[in-house]
Amino acid sequence: MFWRGPDYPKARPLLATAVLRNPKHLVAQWFLFQCELIDGDLSAARERGELLVKLSANNHVMILSWVRALVASGDLDAARAAIAQHLIRVDPTADRRNIGANHFIEAALFELVGQGDVSFETSRAMCRENDVTLIDWSKVEKADEIRAALKDMRAKVRNRDICIFGRGPSIKELEADPGRLHGHDFVPFVLSEYQEVAERVLAKVGKTPGLACMTSQVVVRAYADNLRALHASDDFVALTIPDFLDQQLRNSEEDRELAGQILSDPRRVFSYRCQAELNLPVPCDPLHFPTINTLLHALGLAILLEPRRIFLFGFEGKANAATGEYYYAEDYKASYMGEGWQNRTARWLWWDSFRFNHVAPCFINHLQLLHDVRYPLIYNVCKDSAITCFPRIGLDDYSTLVKENV
């Protein structure tokens, strides 16, 4: 997306000129709206959002955009009124082999305005019939291999806790007191910050990662040696990556040897489809994960493995208001600076968490409804996190929860 790239500051004035020349240019208006929303210029975004809906004659994407601006500005009543007035609902049961973007948008819209029950019913109508899942494995490439792999992975994880580690500043608290993790039987799940978590947290309690999710070729290359070592470990369950990265690694001359080493055992690799932000898993595409962020993808696999509980550590989902700090450890941040990630600013994190908070519950609903997995109990161990769709607890709450026995 251009608003994450280095030329972002140039975009807004150019788009403003474009819409002055042609106010009916929907694409220019929409991109300008996105700039306003991500920049936090919410009154401008609200006005333009309404215009988008008028110009597009109630297009679902434009309704979602406007409603996002209304919710972001705290006006839930206006957001609900906009949906009531403009949303022409599609019949989710008409043909569930061809569920389209408008269906997902409806589920996301209702979740966004705090109508979780309506959102869930919308999703249930897409995913189930007479309360039986409509998952269609015949539409999934290598379905038997994937189902067998999931069964193997589930045997190692089911009914155990999973801890997923990020690198938000709150991870410092755990690094300072790693003993909190002692005595807790959990499967460690690391993301793109593999080494930092493995060295500064897990090694202190004698653990190595059991699950890893990576979504960038750069990150996989950076941790190639670690991933090779993991594959030799009995404790390792699986590496999960999006389909496009799977293809990149297998097809690249430079990565072919590495791919042969870390992707050759189908029981230890979980590759999910990842094509669009709002494409939730549906009957004929049950392993599609929305392209929002790596945490969402990690959660996807974690939920499919039916753990007892999932704990998130180090996920602030926002920059510190006073210091601007958003990733802990300058060395880690610096390692990304050269890779074009320097524009991952505080505003981008705001946008990331804002979307996550209404897309993640829909995503979880769809996984649960399609794959017949238990409702996942997910805790965010960061009381001040901007990721608010799971209960936010402190380290003391975590310690109490994991020490309690039935």
């Binding site: 082999r97 029950d117 039986v132 309690e404």
Partner: protein
């Protein structure tokens, strides 16, 4: 020319235009009807095919579900099951107490 003559002349000019518009409207109406007919036929075929797909998918998934349940039943002892169930209830209570959302089904 009298005022009446002017009106007649304007009407005479408009009649061919009205006829043209009428013909186009007629043509459009026919095309819309044809399209609606096609859509109707497609919809009915799709509805039937969708119904078959739903039925066969539900049957296949029910079979899978029963097989999985039987497998689980064979693997687990009743004491373990009871313990797991108690643990789940306790976990859910904790979850709701700490602000979690009630599971929907």
């Amino acid at each position: 020319m009298s005022a009446m003559g002017g009106v007649v002349r304007r009407l005479l000019v408009k009649i061919p235009l009205l006829a043209q518009v009428g013909a186009r409207l007629n043509d459009l109406t026919n095309r819309v009807a044809a399209l609606e007919g096609k859509v109707g036929a497609l919809s009915s075929a799709e509805v039937s095919s969708n119904r078959e797909w739903v039925q066969s998918t539900v049957e296949a998934n029910l079979k899978d579900k029963i097989a999985a349940l039987e497998e689980r039943l064979a693997e687990s002892g009743s004491a373990d099951d009871a313990r797991a169930l108690r643990q789940r209830v306790r976990d859910l209570e904790d979850y709701l107490r700490l602000g979690g959302r009630e599971p929907r089904r």
